[in-house]
């Protein structure tokens, strides 16, 4: 599905501020796989997503999606197969526009936009059914401006928008980091449900070790632009925070914040 071949990105090359953000990463993500990416600040997590999405172009290496080389394809052309969610809930939606308008824009992801009516009655009906299971009452507020929603509501809306046109690849950049714990849990559950229901290939960057362990079926740890470890299958299912620290703690200095984050599912014995 997604293949990265010795991908490399250097910021401010040939200056005193030179920084190797991504250092020759090789990665292969299978169809329908849910990968969580963890690492400390500056490990290159967000840079990795930006490279896959085309926000940044790599200095070396290749990116393939479904066997197609997309290394130099501009961001807006990759949109057809990418859904993306940012940490900041404000970034995923247009706040001066209504809920239904935001959903309608997302539905046309990667397609040509013409002079057809922006939101049709059929779409409105469809969105109502889509929003109902969220239990946020958004289905009755289709014509409210998004700026009237809370951060959590906006993030849930962004998730729905990202999946409305069923992208080949879903990229999540710390989607719950800016939310309070309860809302974060709700958003995390929704992410999980949507990814499983639609068999979306998902890459989720997170700061929260417990979340990275709890969610997904594969976990990657980045450190200084390199993949430090890559755990999947049975081993991933039985993983605990303690085990990770025991195994890698000597090599990598975790930030307190990463370790202290509350487990997503509430109580987890570790």
């Amino acid at each position: 599905m997604l293949v990265l071949q010795s991908l490399r990105k250097i910021f401010n090359p040939n200056t005193p501020y030179e920084k190797v953000a991504i250092d020759r990463i090789d990665l292969e993500v299978k169809h329908g796989e849910f990968v969580t990416v963890i690492g400390s600040n500056g490990a290159g997590k967000t840079s990795l997503l930006n490279l896959i999405a085309g926000t940044l172009l790599p200095d070396e290496g290749r990116i393939l999606i479904d066997g197609q080389d997309v290394t130099t394809v501009p961001e807006h052309r990759r949109a057809g197969y990418l859904g993306r969610i940012f940490q900041n809930p404000l970034m995923g939606t247009a706040s001066s526009m209504t809920i239904e308008e935001n959903l309608a824009m997302a539905e046309l992801r990667g397609r040509r936009r013409g002079l057809a009516w922006g939101v049709t009655r059929r779409q409105r009906e469809q969105y109502r059914n889509l929003l109902k299971p969220l239990d946020l009452g958004l289905e009755t507020r289709l014509r409210d401006r998004v700026s009237l929603l809370s951060g959590g509501e906006r993030q849930c809306l962004t998730l729905l928008m990202a999946t409305l046109s069923l992208p080949k690849l879903l990229l999540l950049d710390e989607p719950t980091a800016a939310l309070d714990p309860r809302t974060a849990e709700k958003v995390a559950r929704l992410t999980d449900r949507i990814a499983r229901e639609h068999h979306l290939t998902t890459i989720m960057v997170t700061h929260n070790m417990a979340q990275a362990i709890e969610m997904g079926d594969r976990m990657i740890m980045l450190h200084e632009g390199k993949i430090q470890f890559d755990i999947r299958g049975e081993e991933k299912r039985n993983l605990t925070v303690e085990a990770v620290v025991k195994r890698f703690g000597e090599k990598i200095v975790f930030e307190d914040e990463t370790l202290l984050c509350a487990p997503v599912g509430g109580q987890r014995s570790n």
Binding site: G80, L82, M91, M105, L108, G114
Partner: protein
Amino acid sequence: MNILLGIFQISLEQGLAYALVALGIVVSFRILAFPDLTVDGSFVLGGAVVARMIVLGYSPLAGVFLSVVLGFAAGCATGLLNTRLKINSLLAGILIMTILYSVNLRLMGRSNTPLINYTTLFTPFEETEARWLWVTLFFGAIAFGCKFLTDLFLHTQLGLAMRATGDNEQMIRTLGVNTDHITVLGLGISNAFVSLSGGLVAQHQGFADIGMGIGMIVAGLAAIIIGETLLRAKTVMRNTLAAIVGSFVYRLTITVGLWLGLAPTDLKMATGAMVILALGLPALKRGKEERFHLRGI
């Protein structure tokens, strides 16, 4: 009483005539959040094109049509400077505005072209009894027609993408929209409106003048700030309505000011002060108040 009626009549006529400038500024400043300064030049462009065409013997309607097309092109030029050549938006507008000064002089061949002795779109109205009524209806129909079309457009798929470009460019780009194209298109539409207004105003006042566009942006901004404050505009339809209503109220303020003894030469200073006050007051009152009406400024 008669004086008051006169003031009202003049203001309504002028307000509707210049409403398209405000509407154009709504599209660039508000919808696209692009502070476009091309307006001072594209307004004159419309007047110059129409004047030249009429003097050359073409029908005034053909002149108006060409002025819309060239106004669109001028807006696109500013957009291309910004998106392709990565020139700062304010500077891109100033560059095209400056270039248009020469273009407009070339078009007219001189700095002022009288149209008094030619047939214009307004000639049929001159002979009627109720001249004011017809002229006002004419300008009103055009202003509200353009407003209506803009409202429709901004609710199409393309229009939604344009509004999102001004609201959250990163987001709509990740949805596969080339925001550069949208910006160029939006500025084109904006300046087409402005140029249309210039072409009609020149015929109405009976001449095109190289100086007729000076201060047009500030006047247009004053109009939309007034309109948005009065209407508490937060939706597209209210925004465009605010342009028209604000344009009328702005002209009313000016006409009253002139009647009360404001020197015509001080007009632009007064308008500038008005805009500074409107933009600055919220900042003085409260530090971080949401200044919803300040997008693009």
